[in-house]
């Protein structure tokens, strides 16, 4: 008997638990890989389609790697694809989008930071009421305010101009950005603000010297949010930008929707990738910041 016990002890469990690949584990990976395929597929299809010539596309094998790589569609999409009116490719849209996005982002963030600061640190009368209205504003369907805005822009002579579309983006970015800053500032210790006031700093001194230096992280989030948001906008560009300032998304839709001549699917896909390139680059470079932006942008109250 004793010998058996001793042997048991000798062979008994010791050290790390032997790893067994469980069915559940395999299931987890299968599901994730399946989902990843579903999500990655369109990007893959976009890329391969843009690198094929039309003859190969007509064979109807969208998943196949191009038999012969061609970069012609990319060049065409950039500089010579037709929108029905002109044949300048998507290039003018790209530059228009930059002209719209850069000032809109800067303007909206500056105003929102000041607003958020005023709302959270300087508790003026009715601050809570304004805050409630802001939340409301963040959720209101654009359609409800778009027409009055058209009329207003016409009255002041900014309809279908570059400043006009910039102002529109600034206005519509305001609720969510103000919320973002207000929530961030509210999470800062109020003692900091009190200490600055005891030190004799005023509204603007506190804003520039104390609050803004601490708002760098949230400002990065705000920039990501606004750059992707404004670049991806279609509706406002369509309605407010006017023909000369058409952003890339509108241009893209016009190119794809053009029915004259044969449909150049490869050129369309190249133009689509080009349009998505800027926000995708922002996404891949910013990584975790992008996720934070979503979470922050999604918060309420």
């Amino acid at each position: 008997m004793t010998a058996v016990v001793a042997q048991d002890e000798f062979f008994a469990a010791a050290g790390p638990r032997p790893r067994r690949v469980s069915a559940a584990r395999i299931g987890v990976y299968c599901f994730l890989i399946g989902a990843a395929l579903f999500f990655a597929l369109p990007l893959y299809v976009m890329v391969v389609t843009s690198l094929k010539d039309l003859g190969e596309i007509r064979l109807g094998n969208i998943f196949n790697w191009p038999a012969e790589l061609t970069f012609e569609p990319w060049i065409a999409a950039w500089s010579s694809a037709c929108t029905g009116r002109t044949c300048e490719g998507i290039r003018p849209g790209f530059f228009n989008s930059i002209k719209i996005t850069v000032p809109s982002v800067i303007l909206s963030i500056i105003i929102a930071a000041i607003n958020g600061y005023a709302l959270s640190f300087w508790r003026f009368r009715g601050a809570n009421f304004f805050f409630g209205l802001l939340i409301f504003g963040a959720f209101v369907p654009y359609q409800v305010v778009i027409y009055p805005l058209i009329i207003f822009m016409r009255e002041v002579g900014l309809f279908a101009t570059l400043p006009g579309i910039i102002i529109v983006h600034t206005i519509f970015g305001m609720p969510i950005l103000t919320l973002l800053y207000r929530n961030y500032f509210s999470s800062l210790p109020e003692e900091l603000f009190k200490a600055a006031r005891v030190d004799g700093a005023g509204f603007w001194a506190i804003f520039f010297r104390v609050v803004m230096p601490m708002a760098v992280p949230i400002s990065i989030v705000a920039v990501i949010l606004q750059v992707t948001g404004i670049w991806n906008d279609f509706l406002f560009g369509l309605v407010f930008a006017g023909r000369d300032n058409m952003p890339m998304t509108v241009q893209l839709n016009n190119i794809v929707a053009t029915t004259t001549g044969t449909r150049a699917y490869n050129v369309n896909m190249s133009a689509t990738i080009l349009t998505a390139a800027v926000p995708l680059a922002v996404y891949f470079i910013s990584g975790r910041w992008f996720v934070r932006g979503i979470a922050a942008g999604a918060v309420k109250g």
Binding site: I114, F136, P141, V145, T228, T275, I294, G301
Partner: protein, 281 residues
Amino acid sequence: MIAVGVGLYVVGIGYSVALSFTNSKLLPKFDTFVGLANYDRLWSTGRWLISVENIWLFGLLSIALNMLLGFLLAAFMDRRVRYEDTFRTILLYPYAMSLIVTGLVWQWMMDPGLGIQSAMQNWGFAGFSFAPLTNPDTAIFGVVIAGVWQGTGVTMAILLAGLRGIDEDIWKAARVDGIPTWRTYVFIALPMLRGALATAFVLQAVSVVRVYDLIVGLTGGGPGIATEMPAKFVIDHITNRVNVSLGMAAATMMLLPIILLIGINLFIDWRRKAVAMRAAT
């Protein structure tokens, strides 16, 4: 400055609602008030009725799928998988892309002659059929697929962040208690994710109400008017169709669900405060 910004919203909304009681066509005119006539007309316009039906179908289906898939993905991602960053990057990138882009890509993928359907048939699955956009009865499901593709990553990211925020000790306690992993997720983690779930839901709901670009890019509202949506109805009526007052009546209707949503939110807040007050006393 805030006052001006907020004022603009309030005045704008008021202006839109007021216009819906006039008979403005191309330009706003406040001389003839027609009462609820525009609403009468709206609710007897086939295009609007289909739009409303579509947004319900699209909203319920896409939000349900989105939340279900998003939660499953978040839970699986939370299981200490390898290459988590890679998976997350892949699941989330569609959200970085414009809805117009999403629409155009899926339009191409669902092309009956050259898309997935033909590729599968060329691979030997002769009976394979997947071209929802060509049939008015199924087109809306094509829109749902594209919408879910674009938005699920966000739900996953929000819920995953929520899961990561749960106290590590809770998982340990559940293991000591011998609670199976899936039960821990469903009975313990899920109820703790209420905040994250609400956030994800509101985000999706708002994007459903606003859905416009996706339709323009994917179907243009077609085939026929099979995938028209309220947001598109409004824009079309104030631009191409020059019937501002009808468009504004539709816009006012769109405001209702949002007001309802905020109302529910306020009610929940109020109730939570009431419960907290009771617990405190």
